[in-house]
Point group: C2
Chain length 447, copies 2
């Protein structure tokens, strides 16, 4: 197994250098060929998916698979249409490779260009969703990154069919190097992939919190992702109450299973009696179970809110992923910030306020990848952030943070162009000075 996985990774690495230099035109042609191949081979893909579904149905009967997983596994006509249009959307995105990010004249005839380039080899490890294959493959192709896919065994046939159709289509464009995309299929492959830091430059795990955490804990390779989304909304004294009702409701119920839904509502004690009873009624009318701290419990009780439940200590650190919300009273914005930085997951947090000074403090001191001012936490998403396509949401503090688009798959190299310039002329007593003049000149390569 190790040798097989290593061989795949080594092939991807070798192809990655070539893929990094393929022209935009060839990449876009390959993407169109991929979209057409999917359309042409729809039946093959659905047949393969049916095999996976049959096996999954047997597992559900034995209690070994959830209905939710079955839904994610199942290809529909709508999902298939989205797959195809998703590939064409990526073809429309600007090519991120070879952009001159900065240019600095060090001295006459000695110019330093910082030029964007792909990271190299991306490892994508994902669970049931077969739609990950076309989505990630198109993003990685356009950004010039070789990719190793490892899908869940429950989607084995679907993944293989999609992978074969897509890579066969790519082969019709001779500029695309063979071997840039690899599919790993055995269960042991995951453990092997995690060891291959000499070949794989970045891992993108997609799946449950536990799954991502397992990956993070067992590899030296950089991981782009997030393990949990414990998001908050804080309602300040100065909040516009109608805005607060609307935003706090949407942040919880618009899609409660998403990582960017809120789990805890923090309310300033000076507004709590005015705001909280109506907010509780709105939540309860929308089927949200509420868990109160002592202070908010009293307010809710006095207002005659039914079905009161106290929050336990662990509630403040829990991602419900469900129609459940914990509620806590805080003394001011500082207490809210402290609670969020301590209990949150540095993902997305919301302030409802009309006081600019307070808003600035919250936006500055809350250490999260997205801070929402009078807007729903649910906006924290690659598509909504205008990225065209989302690679993932990162709670890392380096490289990429928050919703990550194709830019998260890019790095840069420095190209210094001279005509015999040597360092010895720039050191010592008669050292020439550096000019260090920024210019707008672009690095141009012949093509």
């Amino acid at each position: 197994m190790e040798n097989q996985m290593q061989e795949k990774a080594s092939k991807a690495k070798a192809a990655s250098v070539l893929l990094a230099n393929v022209s935009t035109d060839a990449k876009d042609k390959a993407l169109e060929a991929m979209a057409q191949a999917l359309e042409k081979n729809k039946q093959i893909i659905f047949d393969a998916n049916q095999k996976d579904l049959d096996a999954a149905a047997a597992m559900i009967e034995k209690g070994d698979m959830s209905a939710a997983l079955y839904d994610r596994l199942k290809l529909s006509d709508a999902k298939f249409k989205d797959m195809v249009s998703g590939i064409r959307d990526v073809a429309k995105l600007e090519d991120p490779v070879g952009k001159t990010l900065s240019t600095l004249v060090l001295d006459d005839g000695l110019t330093l260009y910082q030029v964007s380039c792909p990271i190299g080899v991306i490892g994508v490890i994902f669970e049931a969703r077969p739609d990950v294959v076309p989505q990630v493959m198109s993003l990685c192709l356009k950004s010039g990154n070789a990719t190793i896919f490892k899908g869940g065994s429950e989607a084995k046939n679907s993944n293989r069919a999609l992978f074969d159709v897509l890579t066969d289509a790519m082969k019709t464009i001779p500029e695309i190097p063979v071997g840039a995309f690899q599919l790993a299929e055995s269960r042991e492959d995951v453990a092997e992939m995690l060891k291959l830091d000499q070949y794989i430059d970045l891992l993108i795990p997609r799946g449950s919190n536990d799954f991502v955490k397992y990956i993070q804990d067992n590899t030296r390779i950089s991981v782009l992702g997030h393990t949990s989304g414990i998001c908050h909304a804080y309602v300040a004294e100065s909040a516009n109450l109608d805005t607060a009702y609307t935003v706090c409701l949407d942040s919880k119920i618009q899609y409660p299973a998403a990582c960017n839904a809120i789990e805890t509502l923090l309310v300033d004690d000076k507004i709590a009696e005015k705001f909280l009873p109506e907010m509780c009624r709105i939540y309860q009318n929308n089927g949200v179970e509420l868990r109160f701290d002592d202070a908010s419990y009293k307010i809710a009780e006095a207002a005659g809110i039914p079905d009161l439940k106290k929050a336990a200590d662990e509630d403040w650190d829990t991602e419900y992923n469900d129609l459940i919300l914990s509620i806590k009273i805080v003394g001011n914005v500082d207490e809210a910030i402290e609670h969020i930085n301590k209990h949150g997951s540095h993902h997305t947090d919301v302030i409802l306020s009309t006081d600019q000074k307070e808003i600035d403090k919250f936006a500055g001191l809350v250490d999260s990848s997205s801070v929402m001012i009078n807007a729903s936490s649910r906006f924290a998403d690659g598509f909504r952030y205008g990225k065209g396509a989302e690679v993932g949401i990162s709670t890392n503090k380096i490289h990429s943070r928050g919703p990550v688009g194709m830019e998260g798959l890019m790095i840069y190299k420095y190209i210094l162009s001279g005509s015999g310039h040597v360092v010895k002329d720039y050191v010592g007593d008669s050292a020439k000075p550096y000019k260090h003049e920024k210019t707008q000149e672009k690095y141009c390569r012949l093509q």
Copy 2:
């Protein structure tokens, strides 16, 4: 020990949120206070350094320390002056915090700002050089990053004296949060630091290759650095020979112990007989030991070059850090690229050529952080690249690559400003469309 280290890290983490929001003015005042405090307390610092030097002298006598390490440890008047002016140089650098990196109007009144912010807590682990303390502390302060220093025990007294003088000076500026900078002193602290991924966001090790490799292998925290510098120069058939002689010499001998000095010279076989004999003479006149592959050996032998030595297989993977160079003949630029990507350390590689097509191929396909075109490898350096100060040289493929300045200590957060905007209005059959219009508007906070 664990509790003490954890406590320091926890204090730094708590202070980091505040430090991220300190005004430019307060940070620059603190830097000036630090520079003045160094000048005022020069004697205290030299006395502490003398203690370390006395202990080091005893170790040298016992053969437990090298003379080179002693030199790095020793503060001189010149080094001290550089320390002080280095702090004032950082004060002059533009504040990298709070820059609006991009602005996107998602819809009327709903604007997404991407704003630069510090990474958080940096862990700096370094060997003998006490001058690391003021240099890194000033960079981290200006960039708003809390920092934990762990220096080598051989510089214990110097580090403590510098750390105390500098942090005392900072305390005169009330806006700087206490506890943002921490000094760890015991040997066990390194192992503890490596475990503290809940507090430390980035590690910057400075020291030998083995030291950096040890850090990389024993932590989940992201590491900025490089373990080795196996750099190459490739002389193409089209090379201007005078340029090639000059650049290849400087790349080797200008400072052979540096990571950006070349270790291997690759020569196109079509130019080798013309180029190599004179190049060998130049190298030998400058004290460089040469190790030849079979083909270059024959050419050198035929030209009557003395002291011929064959390169062994391991030479191609060796960083000599010394006046030694291995030489190999290659058939064309493709073979050169293949050799470099296989044996190099993705650090810095040079092409000598006048053929633009060949240069483009080399610059595109060599997978290194710096590619030099007709210029010395020794230019790959933060100061020479105009960064004002160098945090390190990175061979990572994510976040920062090549010589890294203060920008390597930065990340960003997204701030979405709305007025009650909710996601439910943008989904479903009657979904409002997103505008996704880029603007030049900056995120402004009151101050």
